[in-house]
């Protein structure tokens, strides 16, 4: 790969100053599992790499009254094995545990995954199902965006060159929430999904009171299955309703033909896996 200048600032302020002054010439590196392969393959070029390894403000898992706060450079592995995350936000622990292999998860970070904006990743569908927010900071200020609105296109997050994701917040969920993440892996266990479905739902007295659905590997960006949600919300849960809701995803997704399957096959599978996921969380 082309050589670059490597900076290891010790404060968040220095990082933001560097991003603000160098903008398109600088890239951030956290764990490196996304950017290093891209640099090796020359898919990305950078004159300067700024490392977040010394920035303590960005690390950590915090449980607050408003929800779960995941620091930007918290590793997948740290979230995956946290007993409290597994207990209170099992879908989130599950989503990180499904990524690649242990050695990758030891380095790969929460923010790095979202900023990579690879539509085949496991994080976004689960965060969409949990209505997670991305906190973004820059020299100029800060903003918050829903994970479902964070992606523009393949490998393009909606992030300005001088901005940095500081934290991902998973809000407190309804008390009787049931969640599931189904990752269709017809090839190997360490692969990206052929299609993936994350559902978070709550049923009361047979009525669907809360439903959020995130889909992965179904197009240029992760998709929130709003049409399926609309079919289900406020209605009495029946097998027919579930099937009707699952069928609606075909209009909202456009999976690519690739070595994991044709677009048509993936569309069919999205319907199947959504139906299975809905059965799991809505029935019994």
């Amino acid at each position: 790969m082309r050589d670059f200048e490597y900076l290891t600032p010790n404060t968040l302020k220095e990082v933001l100053d560097i991003l603000d002054s160098k903008r398109d010439e600088v890239r951030v590196v956290a764990g490196g599992t996304s950017i290093v392969p891209m640099l090796k393959q020359r898919l990305v070029a950078a004159d300067t790499l700024v490392s977040l390894q010394n920035i303590k403000d960005l690390k950590g898992i915090r449980f607050a009254t408003d929800g779960l706060h995941l620091g930007a450079t918290t590793t997948h592995r740290e979230v995956e094995i946290s007993p409290q995350v597994k207990k209170e936000y099992p879908l989130i622990a599950e989503s990180y545990s499904k990524v690649a292999t242990v050695k990758i998860r030891n380095s790969a970070t929460v923010a790095g995954q979202l900023v990579q904006a690879d539509p085949y990743q496991d994080g976004a569908p689960c965060h969409i199902a949990m209505n997670s927010k991305v906190n973004i900071i820059s020299k100029g200020g800060k903003r918050t965006v829903d994970v479902e609105d964070f992606f523009a296109d393949y490998y393009m997050a909606k992030l300005e060159p001088n901005e940095l994701v500081s934290e991902v917040v998973v809000p407190k969920q309804p008390a009787n929430l049931k969640t599931v993440y189904l990752k269709f892996l017809p090839r190997t266990e360490d692969d990206y999904a052929t299609v993936s479905v994350a559902v978070a739902a709550a049923v009361e007295g047979g009525i669907c009171k809360h439903i959020r659905i995130g889909l992965g590997s179904v197009g240029a960006t992760p998709v929130r299955a709003t049409a399926a949600e609309k079919e289900l919300l406020g209605k009495k849960v029946t097998k027919d309703l579930i099937e009707k809701a699952a069928a609606t995803v075909k209009d909202q997704i456009s999976p690519l033909d690739d070595f994991r399957g044709s677009g048509a096959y993936k569309s069919d599978m999205a319907v199947v896996f959504l139906r299975r996921a809905l059965e799991k969380v809505l029935e019994g």
């Binding site: 790969m1 082309r2 050589d3 670059f4 200048e5 490597y6 290891t8 590196v29 490196g32 599992t33 290093v36 392969p37 640099l39 090796k40 790499l49 490392s51 390894q53 592995r77 690649a100 292999t101 242990v102 050695k103 990758i104 030891n106 380095s107 266990e189 360490d190």
Partner: protein
Amino acid sequence: MPKADIRLKVNGKSHRVEVEPRRLLVDCLRYDLGLTGTKEGCSMGICGACTVIMNGKTVASCLTLAVQADGAEITTIEGIAPGEGKLHPLQQAFIDKGGFQCGICTPGQIVAAKALLDYNPKPTKEEVREWMMGNLCRCTGYYKIIDSIVAAIGK
């Protein structure tokens, strides 16, 4: 680009190396430090041949920049044996159970297995299989690798 001065503690020994920022850890270990036990297979962090333990956790050294390892404690396959003329129980188990054929994946397998037993000294067979997913092998078909690791548990 200015070179970086990094300090690594590898297998208990301190090293000071001058590297280009783009230097990969696998290349630094193999060529700057002469520790050629760690192999590079896929260059994409999938095959596990480049697995080393960095600050107590396995990492793909082909995806890690040497500069990212500045100040780190690293264990490579050369550091697994407890002393001159001795073998770690894992290494003995791989011999006893036939856990290798050509041997190219074996350094990565043993380092990954060591990290597992450090993290969980009594894993179930299923836990071993799941942990070892990150280490591919073209020769053995994996059964003897798993058997070797299981045989080393508690030793």
